[in-house]
Every structure is written in structure tokens, then in C-alpha cells.
Amino acid sequence: MIRERLLVVGNGMAGIRAIEEVLARAPGRYDIAVFGAEPHPAYSRIMLSPMLAGEKRFDEIVTHDRAWYEANGIALHTGVRVTAIHRDARIVVTGDGRSFAYDRLILATGSEPAPLPVPGSELPGVMTFRNAGDVEAMLRQTRDGARAVVIGGGLLGLEAAYGLKQRGMGVTVVHLMPHLMERQLDREAASLLQRELEARGIEVVCSARTAGISGTRQVRGVELADGRHLPADLVVVAIGVRPDIALAREAGLVTARGVVVDGAMRTSDPHIFAAGECAEHDGVCHGLIAPLYDMAKILAATLAGETASYAPLPTATRLKVSGIELFSAGDFSHDEGCEDIILRDPRRGAYRRLVLKNGRLIGAVLYGETSDGAFFFDLIQSGADTASMRDVLIFGRALCEAA
């Protein structure tokens, strides 16, 4: 029997997860090949921060070595970029001019860093923080006493700042919004976080718009809109990501912010699927690990001939900065009908905020002490009625289970 050919574009966390799920659900059904633009086999992108900080080596974050691909009969093409899809012929073309036919195609192209639209952003020494190559580039620039400016006080920017600080650099974080990690944190938790970062020698400048990057042959500093100048030997731009959809768009697939997929992870072409950060489901692109895994599962089920539909769940985030416990899950924008329960322990730098709506937990921020994160996350995901435990909800699992 001739096996169907399954091509996977993207050897990142979504692509490899989708392959694993397919192997589990439809063993032997597909002839699988995977294309990765990076020169490495699969590694855990979320471990890049510890790698930057010197807490992990690259070989420790590799999740699937070449032997694994071999053992599972998967053709791995590293350092190979897919440049075009000919949907009529069902072939893809790679950067080195080769063509590969497919019966099913998975797009797992992920995201690319959002560019900083200011003068000087092309200067040498201005970097992004997205892949292992970026980390290696940054590490080449680090030296004791050198100065780094990280533009963007979100999850990734802060992890970059921490990593560079750990490498002995002087680090300043420049953030456009009034407080750090505004998508995950409220003002109080953010100020605790800021204090903690400052205590570790990381400067934080909030409400600061970057007007330009100075330097001629090499970056020399960051110019803020209010006139301040921050000297820098290295600038890391971490102001967000956007789905990498160039390939899909070129191929004429329906795209919006991401590659539009239905609940079965199918694109507008029934032979082509998408999963991970590049996929847009129900108008939303997801950037975290849990939904990515869920999509991979659904996609594999579809490829196995099962009927499955993706239903996004609330997501949780942890900041991967050693010694800073930060957990954020669900929704805590201030909607009508939301009720806050807040716990603060400024001396120990601990903070909790729960957001309830109609008696159900919809959001949680834990700072300083996050061991109950999973408990709250479960409650958010299950949508359980918390009325009976409201008095003790903020205190977490131990007391809620005694209630």
C-alpha cells in the first residue's frame, strides 16, 4: 500500500507536536517529511530564556534529536526554507530549488518578531529574541560592562533582559505601556515585578516610546520620544510577534492576521492544514504552548480521519525568570460585571488577583507565590461555580478543599 505523503512546514513546537500526534493516532498511515528553516532538530523554544541566562545549554533544550526522526521514519530537512506552494500540483518548492509532492500539508510556520518601525532599527547590534540563532547572536555580543536596552516589557522582553543581566550586562527595559506585562498583569503585580527586577539591577523605563535607534555602523543607543538617550551596545526588540503567513498568502490561502483555519485545523484548501502560532481560529491567533498542543491534537485527529473540533481554552503564563514566581491565567481586563479579589503582601512581594464573573473564576494573577496556579487554572478552565468557596478562594487549594 502506498502511504499518503504528509509534509510539515515548520520544525518548531507546533510542527513536531503535530507529527507526534499523527504518529500516535494514525501510525504507518503517512509518509512524513518536515522542513525546518533553522539548522537544528526540534528544541523547546520556551527554554531559550534559560539558555540566554546561562541556566541551560542548547543540547539540554533539544526535544527531538536526529535519531528520533530516523527511528520514526521521518525525513528531516533542516536549514531548508519552503518558499512556495503549488496547490494545484500539490507540491512545495524549497529555497534550494527542490520540489516535494504532498497529499496533506501542514503549515506550522510560527511567528516572526514584530519589527520596530523607527529609524536605526536595521543597525548591527539590533536583535530580536525568537530562536536559538538569536540567542547565539546575543551571546556573541555580551560582555561584562556592556549595555543592553530591551525594547518591550512583555514576557519575552523581560526574559531577554534577565538573561542578558545574568550574562553580566547592564540592562534597561524600555516599555511603551505604563506598566510591565500589561497583557498578563495588572498594575500592582506589575509594580511588584518591576521592583523585583530593579532589585536585580535591571532598569525599567515605562510609558516610554522609542523614537529611534542611534549609531552609524553599530548601535550606540536608544532615543526616547521624551528626549532621553539610553546608551546601548546591544538592543533587543521584543515588542511582540506576528504570525508568519507569507508562504500561505503567496499560495492564495485565506489569511487574516494568521492562516485562517476551521475547527478541524483545515485551511481554505482541504489538503492544507495549519497549527500553532501561524494559525488563526475563530479570529484569534494563539501564542502560548497549551493551545498549540491542543491544535496539534485536533489536527492529528483530522488527519486520522476522526471528527474533532478545536475549542480554545483559557491560557496560563509563567514568567521564566529564576526566583520570580509569576503566574497569569485567563482574562482580567476590566469588563462590566467582573469582580476582583485581591491579596497583597508587599513586604514579601507577593500578590494575587482573582477575577470572577457570575460566580465563576475567569482570571488569576499570582505573583511571588504561584503554587496554587494550577488550582486556579483548573477552576478557570472548568468554569466551576465558586460561590460556595468564595470566602477562601483567594487562599488557594488547601482552604478551598477544606471548605
Binding site: I341, R390, F395, A398, L399
Partner: protein, 840 residues
């Protein structure tokens, strides 16, 4: 302290002596006054009385015994010719019937009550309680008569009239040893023609009245105990005489197991009465007859002995308010909080030219109004004598050194007397010298005219005084053994040697309820507290039973006035108002409210009952009617409540309601206000001393706010909880944690604000047994584990095995937790098992 500034003794004493002398010189002896205390030792009392009545020349020395024993003193004097308690405590062992009138002995005299219930174990003594409230004593009685307030005279008139028709009437005794029986019986019959009338006036069931009368008539060995429910009444003296009348009519007096027995309220109320510390006494059981005045003048070598009675407490403070009295010295008592019409009393002291307060407690409601505050020794630091309810004089020996600059009261008085120019008459160097003089005066030209005679002790040297064993007076010259019972010889210290029946026409309380004041406000003691809580209020274990001012009302009244159980209400009268938490209880009859007597401005925003209580007094004894004030109750619109645990002792300002109670390691403040809860949280936070680094939680929609501070070692140092009314959690566990001083593990730090342990079964709970610190939670567990009587609980936990005042509550807990009633029902064989009656 002089004018709030520290001063040395010489400066303070000179100032007091000079100001008193100047005032007397300018305005006469009656322009000054002393207000003293039943907690002074006899020696203190003696020198204070001597200074005022013999050397200043006024009788304006009165005592807080006026609020306590004056009606008994007056009743005894009317009946016997002298203030004599004929009984002794052994009579409780010997009686077959003990009637407690207006006495919650189970709480107020727990040792004696134990003695009584022990006797019941042995001989089946019947106990009858007569009280408008279902007290712990009532709950333990064989028969409880919950009479209408102030109707005791009607009941005992009825009893007398009823006894007259029974063989129990001792006609021989009446004929030979008494006078006035027939007029008195006539009066009684007029008031109480039949059981139905009595029952109606007293609000009792006819059957109960009949049962009581029959029991009294048929039981030869009957003791009638009476206390503040009788005394603190505008008809107090008549109540005392109505009771004594029944004992005289049956000849049940002066014999084992019989007699009218006044239980005193204070440790040395009796000693004060001996020296003449009441303004209507002169000295040593002598009144103001010309012969007595002359006799005392000669004995003291006094320049100007007071020639007439002085002002009694309520009138005395009115005189201060009217500026007739311009200088007053308050010793060891807290009239600003304890007297009726408290607003007027506070105003009087505030506006008085010169107020001296000597006390062993620095911060009292009265002390705050003082120009000069003198540090007096506390009881454990003092040396002298006290006399108890059975006339037993006991040496009190210091077991603590004098702290800092404190001095005993006798020393302070003596020093002032010397500086006023009376050095020769106040040359005392030690209490024994005073005692000898006191004993000598009691026997001076006595010739059996006064029963009170300590002649046998007057010659004691210092060593004999030091070693004096407890002894019951009289101890005339030539005797050294004392006397258990008086009137066994049927001789009374009246001019004709006969006891006197006193006709006591029944009249209701001075002020009646009406539409604007439909409730009767009663006041009284809590189980573990003393007077204005200046000392017991500092003891966490004692405060735990009732840590805040509670107004008890019947649920039907609560419904009528719209007041929820646990809500905060104002109780007000024509004289003033107080604020307390409301407790619904069927222990109160409908139409009556009860407020503990103890709360002061020091301990609460407005929990002091004295402001509400009417200043009506008994016409004979001058004792105020503290237990009957027409009042109304209105709910407050409380929108938030809080609890603050703090190391700091202070008086919060600007709050509608607060009260403070001592807890281990600090104080618990209960707070409440009418502001929106957001403001309440800010008010609560403003009271926190360490709020900057506090851990807090806030559930905004529900208005739940909690904050806690820890020291560097992780020990909880301060804690605030704010919630909508009725939604505060039980803080017992938090208070335990606060008091333990143990550091909270970092992992559990956040859990502190949950106000409860993770394991629900841990903790002591509210303390029930104060002696051994045994709490409700632990007791309930023990009952759950099979302890079915107080005996078993005592064996397991020791609760109830010391003073026993928690035994009624332990029995309640057993019946509640186990559905099993361990009480002793009327007419059953004695069988209630109490820990001291069983083997532990």
C-alpha cells in the same frame, strides 16, 4: 501625676493637702469630699473615715458600697438596730432550703455557690432562685421564679401573709423577741391578699408561687440569700426588710441553717461598714447621736467631729456638679463609669475645681478627669485586713513588692492628713497600728451596746496581728475565738432589745416604663468580670467569655424594635445612651433588656451603662436603682464591622462603635460604623500602626477586607478584618495565632488572612473554662468523643474543676452537643454530677 505631668510624691501630697485646706478655709468642711471603695483594706478605710469625719469635720465621705450594700445595711439596721449579718457560710451546708433573691451566685459568688451545690449533693438541699433574669443560678435551681423586676416586696409580703396561716409561724418568738409584727402582717395582707394577686403583680404562675410558699413554710432550715437584685433598687431597704420579716416570723435566725444572708459585692464591703465609711455612719457601727459624736471625738481627740450625716454617693456627685463640693478625692473606684446618670457625673468631675484620684490603675474613666493622680498599691501589694460576708476578718498579706512609686492607701491618706496639720492623730507607721486603734474604738465605751466589738484584738502586738487567723466578729475583750452566728441569744442591739418587723408597703420601681421608654433596662455582672474591668479587663482569659458589650433582649422585643441578633443598637433613656451588640435571648423576659455593668469609655466607644441608668435612689439607704431604668432600643444602621488585633492599647476616635478586649499578646478591637464599607476599611486601616507593609486581601464587591502585619521573624503583629455586618469570620484562631507569638511559616503566610487553620478541627475555640483555658471547640470534641457529664469533661480537660462557674455552660454544651440533659430536675433525687463531687 499632677495635671497630666509626672510629679514626685512630696509635690503631689503638698498640693493635695494645700488645696483641701484652702477649700475648707474658704468654703467650710462640707465643700470637700472623699469617695472611697469597698476594695480598700479596713485600715485604709479607717484612716480615710477618721480624716474626713474627725478632722476635716464633714461626713462627706461615701463609698462605692453605696451602690452595692447600702440597702442591706439600712435593712439590717432597721430590723436589728445595727448592721448585722447573722449568718455564717456553714449555714449553707446546714440548710434544707436556700432561697436566692436577686443573686446570681453561680457567677458572682462561685465559691459559695459551689459550696451550696455540694451541700445539695450531700443532703438534697432545695434551691430556689428568684430573679427577673434566667441566670446561670436560675438554670441550676430546683425552682425558678422569674418575677417582674422590682416586685420582690410583693412576693415576700405574700410569703409573710401566707406563713401567718401555717404552723411555721413562731408566735412565741414573735411575742418575746420582736416588735411590730401585727402592723407588718396587716400591711402584707393588704398588699398580698391572695396567691392570684401576688402571681399577677409578680408575673408568676400561681402554682409556682404556691410551691415556693409551701416549701418555705415546711422547711425549718431555710436561708435566704440576697444580693444586688435586692439592694440596687429604689425599694431596696424594703426588700431586705420584707425578707427579714419572714425569718423573724418563723424564728429562723441565729440558728444553724437559718437566716437572712446578705452576700456582699466587694472584697471589703463589710470592713468599710465596720469603720463607718458610709456617709450616714459615724464610725465603728455608731451613728450621729450626740453621745456617739462625743464618744468618737474623745476617742480620736478630734477637733471637729462631723455633727450630721454627709451626702450619699448620688447626692454627693450632684453636689460636685452644683459646685457645693469643690474638691473631691476618689480612692480606688471609678464613679465616672459606675454611677447612674453617668453624663452628669462626668460633667461634674470635669468641672470640679480639684479632683484627686488614687488608684492602682493609671487609666480609668475617672482618672482621666483627675487633676492629681496618685499611684496606689493593688490588693496583692497591700498589707492589712478585710472582712467578708460572714463577718470574717482575714489578714491580707502582700505577696508582691510595691511597684515603682506606688504606696498603700493608708500611707497616702496619712501623709495628706499630716500635711493638713493633723500629724499627731495620724502618726501611723504600719497597718497594725491602725488596726489596733480601729479595734479599740469598736470596744470603746461599748458595754454591749454595739455587737460590732473587736476588743479582744485591740491588744494584739504586731506579731499577733501578722499571724491573725481568719476570725468572725464580734470578738469582745476576753475572747479570741469569734462568733459564727449572731442572735442565737435572741437579743438584738435595739433600745428594747427586740428585733423589729418593718412594714413594707409594696410600690413599684421609681420610674415606670411608658411609650417612649417601653423597656426595662437591667444591669449586672458578667461571669468573669469585676466592676469597671480596670483589672479583669486586662486578663485575656477572663475577657474571652464576653469580649464586647452585649445587650440582651428577648426575641419578641427584638422583632418589635427591628433589631437583629448580633446587630448593633443604641439603648437610650432620659439620662443618656449606650451602644452595644444585641443578643437575642429568652433568658430575658419580654419587655426587659440587660446590659453588663462593666463597660467604660476606656474599653468602648459607648458601652457604659451608667450613662443610661436613672439616678433614682432608695429613700432610706440612698442606694441607686441600677437595675431598673425605662429605656428604648433603636437599631443603628451599621454598614461595616471590623476586628483589629494589635499590641497597642489605645482608644480609637471617630468611630460609631468600638470596644477593646485584652487577648494574649495584645488587644482585640471590635469596630463598627454607619459609613459605606469603603470608608470603614479606611477607618480601620487608620487604626493600624504598621499598615505600610501589611499583607491584605480585598474582595471589593462584597466589602471584605483583611490585613495582617508580621515582624521580621514572621510573627503576626497586627491584623485587621473588615466586612459587612454579620460577615466577619470567627477570629478565635487568629487571636490564638496572634497570642502565640510563634512565627508563621512563609508558605502559610497568605493563609493567615483566611482566619482559620487549614485543618478545620484544630484550635481551642471560645474559652469556656477560664480557670484552665478550655475552649468550646475542645469541649465539643470531648463530648463528641463520649464525655456525657461535667465529671467526665473535668477528668479529660480539667474544665469546671476549679471555680466551677462554667459548670452551667458545660451542662448546656453537653445537652447541645450530645442531646443529653445532665441537669438536676426539681424533685428528683440529688444526682447532678459535678467535677468536684466526683473522682478526677
Amino acid at each position: 501625676m499632677v495635671d497630666g505631668e509626672p510629679a514626685d510624691w512630696n509635690t503631689a501630697l503638698d498640693l493635695v493637702a494645700r488645696r483641701f485646706n484652702e477649700t475648707i478655709a474658704a468654703h467650710g468642711p462640707d465643700s470637700v469630699a472623699f469617695y472611697v471603695s469597698g476594695q480598700l483594706l479596713t485600715e485604709d478605710y479607717y484612716v480615710a473615715n477618721k480624716l474626713m469625719k474627725g478632722f476635716i469635720g464633714s461626713a462627706n465621705i461615701d463609698t462605692n458600697s453605696r451602690l452595692c450594700m447600702a440597702s442591706s445595711v439600712a435593712g439590717h439596721t432597721r430590723a436589728f438596730g445595727e448592721d448585722i449579718v447573722p449568718c455564717c457560710y456553714e449555714d449553707l451546708d446546714e440548710a434544707d432550703l436556700v432561697v436566692l433573691v436577686g443573686s446570681n451566685a453561680a457567677w458572682c459568688h462561685p465559691i459559695l455557690f459551689r459550696r451550696l451545690t455540694d451541700a445539695r449533693e450531700r443532703r438534697g438541699t432545695k434551691i430556689v432562685a428568684i430573679d427577673p433574669r434566667r441566670t446561670a443560678t436560675a438554670a441550676d435551681a430546683d425552682l425558678f421564679l422569674q418575677l417582674n423586676p422590682g416586685t420582690d416586696v410583693e412576693l415576700f409580703n405574700g410569703l409573710l401573709a401566707n406563713l401567718a396561716g401555717t404552723p411555721s409561724l413562731d408566735s412565741d418568738y414573735i411575742d418575746q423577741f420582736t416588735t411590730g409584727f401585727h402592723e407588718t402582717l396587716e400591711q402584707a395582707r393588704t398588699d398580698a391578699p391572695d396567691i392570684r394577686t401576688i402571681a399577677e403583680i409578680c408575673g408568676l404562675r400561681q402554682d409556682d408561687v404556691r410551691t415556693f410558699f409551701e416549701l418555705f413554710a415546711k422547711t425549718e432550715r431555710t436561708v435566704t440569700i440576697y444580693s444586688q437584685g435586692v439592694n440596687q433598687s429604689s425599694r431596696g431597704t424594703d426588700k431586705v426588710n420584707a425578707i427579714i420579716n419572714c425569718h423573724l416570723a418563723t424564728g429562723r435566725i441565729g440558728r444553724p441553717g437559718t437566716g437572712p444572708f446578705s452576700f456582699t459585692g466587694q472584697p471589703n464591703a463589710m470592713g468599710g461598714r465596720e469603720v463607718g465609711g458610709l456617709s450616714n455612719q459615724l464610725a465603728a457601727h455608731m451613728d450621729f447621736t450626740p453621745e456617739n459624736i462625743d464618744r468618737v471625738r474623745r476617742f480620736w481627740g478630734a477637733p471637729r467631729v462631723a455633727g450630721r450625716p454627709g451626702l450619699k454617693a448620688v447626692d454627693l456627685f450632684s453636689a460636685v456638679g452644683e459646685k457645693r463640693i469643690k474638691a473631691i478625692w476618689v480612692m480606688g473606684t471609678n464613679p465616672a463609669a459606675s454611677l447612674p446618670d453617668g453624663n452628669s457625673v462626668r460633667m461634674a468631675l470635669k468641672n470640679c475645681d480639684f479632683v484627686v484620684v488614687s488608684d492602682c490603675v493609671a487609666d480609668t474613666d475617672t482618672g482621666r478627669l483627675a487633676d492629681v493622680l496618685l499611684p496606689a498599691a493593688g490588693w496583692g501589694e497591700k498589707d492589712g485586713t478585710v472582712t467578708n460576708s460572714e463577718r470574717r476578718i482575714s489578714r491580707q498579706r502582700a505577696f508582691m513588692p510595691l511597684p515603682q512609686e506606688a504606696q498603700p492607701d493608708w500611707w497616702i491618706v496619712t501623709e495628706i492628713a499630716r500635711r493638713m496639720g493633723f500629724a499627731d492623730a495620724f502618726a501611723y507607721r504600719r497597718p497594725s497600728e491602725i488596726f489596733r486603734e480601729h479595734a479599740a474604738l469598736s470596744t470603746f465605751e461599748n458595754n454591749d451596746s454595739r455587737v460590732f466589738d473587736l476588743g479582744g484584738l485591740a491588744g494584739f502586738d504586731d506579731r499577733q496581728y501578722d499571724l491573725l487567723p481568719p476570725i468572725q466578729w464580734p470578738v469582745p475583750i476576753g475572747e479570741q475565738s469569734g462568733k459564727a452566728r449572731i442572735f442565737a441569744d435572741r437579743k438584738f442591739p435595739t433600745p428594747d432589745g427586740r428585733a423589729r418587723f418593718v412594714a413594707t408597703p409594696y410600690r413599684g420601681p421609681a420610674n415606670a416604663t411608658d411609650d417612649s421608654a417601653p423597656l426595662v433596662l437591667n444591669t449586672g455582672r458578667m461571669r468573669d468580670q469585676w466592676h469597671t474591668m480596670t483589672r479583669t479587663g486586662e486578663v485575656p482569659r477572663l475577657m474571652s467569655q464576653a469580649p464586647e458589650p452585649l445587650l440582651d433582649i428577648h426575641p419578641s422585643d427584638a422583632a418589635r424594635f427591628g433589631i437583629a441578633d448580633g446587630g448593633i443598637a443604641e439603648i437610650s433613656s432620659s439620662w443618656g445612651r449606650a451602644i452595644a451588640r444585641v443578643r437575642h435571648t429568652t433568658d430575658q423576659k419580654p419587655g426587659q433588656a440587660f446590659l453588663p455593668m462593666h463597660w467604660t469609655d476606656n474599653l468602648s466607644a459607648r458601652g457604659t451603662p451608667g450613662r443610661v441608668v436613672n439616678p433614682a435612689c432608695d429613700a432610706v439607704s440612698g442606694q441607686p436603682e441600677l437595675k431598673h431604668t425605662p429605656a428604648r432600643v433603636t437599631p443603628l444602621n451599621i454598614r461595616w464591622e471590623g476586628v483589629l488585633l494589635s499590641h497597642v492599647r489605645f482608644r480609637p476616635r471617630g468611630l460609631t462603635h468600638w470596644s477593646r478586649s485584652a487577648v494574649t499578646g495584645g488587644y482585640a478591637y471590635r469596630l463598627a460604623g454607619e459609613e459605606p464599607i469603603g470608608e470603614g476599611i479606611l477607618l480601620g486601616l487608620s487604626l493600624m500602626k504598621e499598615r505600610k507593609d501589611a499583607l491584605d486581601i480585598h474582595d471589593k464587591r462584597r466589602g471584605i477586607f483583611r490585613a495582617a502585619s508580621f515582624d521580621a521573624g514572621g510573627v503576626l503583629t497586627e491584623c485587621l478584618l473588615v466586612a459587612p455586618p454579620g460577615e466577619l469570620p470567627d477570629t478565635a484562631w487568629l487571636a490564638e495565632l496572634f497570642g502565640s507569638g510563634s512565627p508563621v511559616p512563609a508558605a502559610d503566610r497568605l493563609l493567615v488572612l483566611a482566619a482559620r487553620p487549614v485543618a478545620a478541627s484544630a484550635g481551642e475555640g471560645r474559652i469556656v473554662c477560664s480557670c484552665f483555658g478550655v475552649g468550646e471547640t475542645r469541649i465539643a470534641r470531648a463530648i463528641g468523643d463520649g464525655a456525657r457529664d461535667t465529671c467526665a469533661l473535668g477528668r479529660l480537660l480539667r474544665c469546671g474543676t476549679n471555680c466551677g462557674s462554667c459548670l452551667p455552660e458545660l451542662r448546656d454544651l453537653i445537652s447541645r452537643e450530645a442531646g443529653h440533659i445532665p441537669a438536676t430536675p426539681f424533685d428528683s433525687a440529688p444526682g447532678g454530677k459535678d467535677p468536684l463531687a466526683c473522682t478526677i
